[in-house]
């Protein structure tokens, strides 16, 4: 069924949303495989995205109006679905990013103090 392990996926999805939006914001329109490849590359191959995670995530971003998608043609002349960040997506990215930075700095301060 669809609603198993909500906690784990939620955390992952929140982060995934941020990563995908950031990727699209820097690199412009990309298809799903390219997004996955980029994340894999940036993370030094430690982050391998499952299709069953990536595509529903993209669809959710699309449904929320943060990305828009249309079928296009790759450099190799293959039909592919390209995702592009929207204005709402950029706003979402900015606010998520601020939140992330805040969390990170709090964690940083806390962990350094503990030491």
């Amino acid at each position: 069924m669809s609603t198993k392990e909500p906690q784990k996926t939620d955390i992952l999805q929140g982060t995934l949303d941020l990563m995908v939006l950031q990727t699209l914001a820097t690199l412009g329109p990309l298809h799903g495989y390219a997004i996955a490849a980029r994340l894999e590359q940036v993370s030094d191959r430690s982050l391998r995205l499952n299709m069953g995670t990536l595509y529903p995530g993209l669809m959710r971003l699309e449904q929320r109006g943060f990305v828009r998608a249309k079928w296009g043609v790759t450099d190799n002349n293959r039909k592919a679905r390209f995702y592009e960040i929207t204005a709402a997506g950029r706003r979402q990215l900015a606010s998520e990013r601020a939140g992330w930075d805040r969390t990170a700095s709090i964690m940083h301060a806390l962990l350094n103090e503990q030491r």
């Binding site: 595509y55 449904q63 592919a80």
Partner: protein
């Protein structure tokens, strides 16, 4: 989450909803995207070295399976539960269409059950439950002291002012009284009696409504008695009488001959605060002394003149018990300050609904009984459907097991079965609305015979629809959940192996037997009630009201409404009586304050000489009327002892009274009541001597308990509005025109109301009402029995069909068909008899409850109806015998060879 966040979530869900309905992306589209991903992944793996096939498998492995990803995407695309629901509904429909007999029996059973509840609710809603057409009606509270005769909360204007000024619990307290007045649009026009409300100046503000046109009353219009002759029109009345003319504001109209300026029009839908009355006008309470028909009443000064109703809403954070505590203190203070008028006058606060129930306890009890009966019918209906579902369960067990074995979760299967039940229930509900509609049409026979805008509105409105829906859903849970849970509990392997899922057969049959026994028991109770009530009412109608209803005509007159003085009114009635007597065809013409069978009689307080009241009580309140010396002749009530009134019982003569036999027996049992005395109201009034005892009749309603009644002579009391009652030689209705002419000859402006024959009044007030109640209860009894029969028939047929093989063998080895018949029949009849016995036992308790609803028994004579029980028992026995015999007979006709080949 912020507002933005909420918007985003809303957008996601609306798109997912669109994804469900419109399929914004097809499965093919989704798959194409995934395949592209896999291709690139495979290409990459190949680049790193590896065979083509290996690469593809590795890619799929790494990227997650295609099927799983598709599933995840589909989940995200739409609303999974909605898609499931749509699928379940489609599937459910297929099942229903494939089993038409099951479907029809179930849907019709439920239609009857739900329809009965819908009908009873509509009935109760019109009579008791429907909230007033005001904002937040549930918060409106009524304050006052209990009127001993009607049970409602009343107050006097003086008490109202004190309570209003002292109380801190309420967000404003309003007061009103309902009143009739002769209304004329112009000075010269003949006035018509109309009905409206005299209200405190804060009336509209406390209720929380604004006039549609013009203004509400202003505070200074509640200060000076008789000064501010301003009126607000009721919306209906404004439309009817003034053609919804918006220029009425500022126009002058006449109420009881006084000029009033119209200052406003009430909003549409607002009909005042009296339950059935559609108020035609609203004027300030301060105008009461000038409008009243009885100038001696001093309505604004007399603390004992308790004719206003006080209502209000609590301040926020004040509870009802706090308000009650405060009111109790106020009541004690009033009692100390005014011991004459306020002794033992406790103040009570009630919600509007509580007050209505207290006002109409008999109606409330009757409605409660009808509700219980309707619930019983629904239960029998649900038991039918549950029984059918249970007998279908073995057939479906394999299908369910199959679905579960290929991975459907148990909750998923239960959800699907419940969906099917809901489908049946909703269809039953829709058909049930038809039953409810038919009942509402029947209720329309109940009309209140009056010229006034008093309406009991029986409607199949939104409230009734909601209740029916709720009942339908509740019934689906009732009949559908248990079979769904049990049929998904089955062991997969046993079911798959067995030919017809014999797994839990024994327990299932037991459960069904209990259901059917219960059905028969409930049907018996329903029938006993129906028969009791039917026979009781028939007997009451046969006995009649205690006086003849034929050859009698009445009309009501209120000279006070023309500002007649006492002497003028007396003279008017004097002449009317004389002249009416001379009209050809009139045998007797009489005057009476109260007309029997025309609602609740007025009351008087009496202190009988030498009677010991219980501690704390000094007087008793009884129903009464004021009548002239011709009345007993005209209505046809015999004087049992002593004499009736005479023309010589005048204001100067000693005070006299006639009482009925019940009153005489109560205060002077075993003594001659003639010559006994009582005082009226309090211990300072002169003695009144009893000169006659009249036969006891019915006064308010046909099925009332025999009640005490006091007649006072018209010549010794201030004349008020009176009925002219005529005994005619021929057709009474032919006298309406000449009598109207007599009244007009005396005063062309005198409004005449409620001209009708006693037959008509009796028919509308008693026969129609009892008829509707009997039809309702009778229908529920019949339906209950019919449903129980279907249940019994179904069970016996089912049991026989499961024993087909056994019966075949028995016959093959030489059993006689009559033995088989007896065997199957016995099974059914054991249940029927058990149900019958249980039902009869329950009926004894029910009979006791009935006696409380219809005091003196439904027959009114206090006797229990001994014939009812054997009648019902015989009917149920005969009918159940047939219901069991038909399938048993069919089973005994089985051809053994066919039976053994079966399966």
């Amino acid at each position: 989450m912020t507002w933005m966040g909420a918007m985003v979530t809303l957008r996601e869900w609306s798109r997912r909803l669109a994804g469900t309905v419109r399929r914004s992306r097809t499965d093919g589209d989704l798959e194409e995207e995934l395949r592209f991903h896999l291709d690139l992944k495979a290409a990459e793996t190949r680049r790193r070295g590896g065979g083509a096939e290996d690469a593809e498998r590795a890619a799929t492995l790494q990227a997650g399976g295609l099927a799983q990803s598709m599933e995840a995407l589909r989940d995200q695309r739409g609303l999974r539960w909605l898609e499931d629901l749509a699928r379940d509904v489609r599937y459910g429909y297929r099942m229903l269409v494939r089993n038409p007999v099951f479907t029809i029996i179930s849907v019709v059973s439920l239609a009857i059950g739900i329809g009965a509840n819908c009908a009873v609710f509509s009935f109760a809603d019109a009579l008791l439950l429907r909230p007033l057409p005001v904002p937040r009606p549930a918060e409106l509270l009524v304050v006052g002291s209990t009127d001993s005769l009607s049970g409602s909360l009343v107050s006097s204007y003086r008490d109202y002012v004190d309570i209003r000024d002292v109380s801190r619990s309420f967000d404003g307290l309003l007061a009103f009284t309902t009143s009739t007045a002769a209304f004329a649009a112009e000075a010269g026009a003949a006035p018509r009696l109309s009905m409206g409300m005299l209200v405190s100046s804060n009336f509209f503000q406390v209720i929380g409504i604004e006039p549609e046109l013009g203004r509400a009353f202003q505070p200074n219009e509640g200060e000076v008695p008789g000064r501010d002759a301003v009126a607000i029109l009721g919306h209906d009345f404004w439309e009817r009488r003034f053609g919804a003319d918006r220029s009425v504001i500022g126009r002058t109209v006449h109420l009881n001959g006084i000029q009033f300026t119209i200052v406003g029009v009430a909003p549409s839908g607002f009909t005042g605060l009296a339950q059935y009355t559609r108020s035609e006008f609203y004027v300030p309470l301060m105008m009461w002394p000038r409008l009243t028909a009885d100038p001696t009443a001093r309505p604004l000064e007399a603390r004992a003149f308790r004719n206003v109703t006080i209502e209000g809403r609590l301040k926020s954070r004040v509870t009802m018990s706090q308000a009650q505590a405060e009111l109790s203190t106020i009541a004690r203070n009033l009692e100390q300050a005014y011991p004459d008028t306020n002794r033992n006058r406790r103040l009570v606060v009630r919600t509007d609904l509580q007050n209505r129930i207290a006002n109409a306890q008999r109606v409330a009890t009757l409605l409660a009984m009808l509700t219980v009966l309707a619930a019983a019918v629904l239960f029998v209906a649900c038991a039918n459907v549950a029984g059918l579902l249970t007998s279908r369960a073995p057939l479906r067990a394999r299908e369910i097991a199959l679905r579960m074995s290929i991975g459907a979760g148990r909750s998923r299967v239960i959800r699907q079965l419940v969906t099917e039940s809901m489908l049946i229930a909703l269809h039953g509900g829709v058909l049930g609305l038809g039953v409810g509609y038919a009942a509402v049409r029947l209720f329309h026979q109940i009309q209140i015979p009056t010229d006034f805008p008093i309406v009991v509105a029986f409607e199949l409105d939104r409230r009734a629809l909601l209740v029916s829906l709720a009942v339908a859903v509740a019934s689906a849970v009732l009949f559908g959940l248990a079979p769904a849970v049990t049929s998904t509990r089955a062991e997969l392997t046993t079911v798959m192996k067995a030919t017809d899922g014999a797994g839990s057969g024994y327990r299932r049959r037991w459960g069904r037997a209990v259901l059917v026994g219960g059905q028969v028991a409930i049907a018996v109770v329903l029938l006993v009630v129906a028969t009791f009530v039917y026979r009781g009412f028939q007997r009451q109608l046969g006995t009649g009201p205690g006086f003849p209803t034929d050859h009698r005509l009445m009309l009501s007159l209120a000279p006070g409404q023309l500002r007649y003085s006492d002497a003028q009114a007396r003279q008017f009635f004097e002449r009317l009586s004389e002249r009416a007597q001379l009209v050809p065809g009139v045998k007797v013409a009489a005057l009476t304050r109260f007309m029997p069978m025309d609602g609740l009689p007025p009351s008087v307080t009496i202190i009988p000489e030498g009677f010991q009241f219980p501690v704390g009580k000094e007087s008793a309140t009884h129903a009464s009327s004021i009548v002239d010396e011709h009345y007993f002749d005209a209505i046809g009530l015999p004087i049992l002892k002593g004499r009736g009134f005479r023309a010589t019982d005048s204001a100067e003569a000693p005070r006299v009274a006639v009482v009925n036999a019940v009153l005489a027996d109560r205060y002077w049992p075993g003594q001659n009541p003639i010559g006994k005395r009582f005082r009226l109201d309090n211990s300072r009034t002169p003695w009144v001597e009893i000169v006659g005892v009249a036969k006891t009749s019915k006064y308010g309603f046909l099925i009332e308990k025999p009640m005490e009644f006091v007649y006072l002579p018209y010549r010794q009391r201030a004349p008020q509005s009176m009925f002219l009652l005529i005994e005619s030689a021929g057709d009474p209705s032919s006298l309406a025109a000449p009598l109207t002419a007599v009244v007009n000859g005396l005063d062309a402006n005198m409004p005449i109301a409620n001209v009708r024959t006693m037959d008509e009044l009796y028919r509308m007030r008693s026969v129609a009402v009892l008829g509707v109640i009997v039809t309702m209860i009778g229908a529920m009894g019949t339906m209950g029995l019919a449903l129980a029969i279907v249940g019994l028939y179904g069970l016996v047929a089912y049991a026989a069909s499961r024993r087909t093989k056994e019966i075949g063998i028995r016959i093959a080895i030489g059993a006689r068909r009559s033995d088989v018949l007896r065997m199957i029949l016995q099974q059914g009849m054991v249940l029927a008899l058990a149900g019958l016995g249980l039902g009869l036992a329950l009926s004894l308790g029910v009979a006791r409850a009935l006696a409380r609803i219809f005091p003196g028994g439904p027959g009114g004579d206090g006797g229990t109806d001994l014939l009812t029980i054997p009648m019902v028992a015989a009917t149920v026995l005969a009918v159940t015998l047939i219901a069991a015999f038909v399938p048993a007979h069919r089973a005994s006709r089985i051809n053994p060879t066919e039976a053994l080949h079966y399966e």
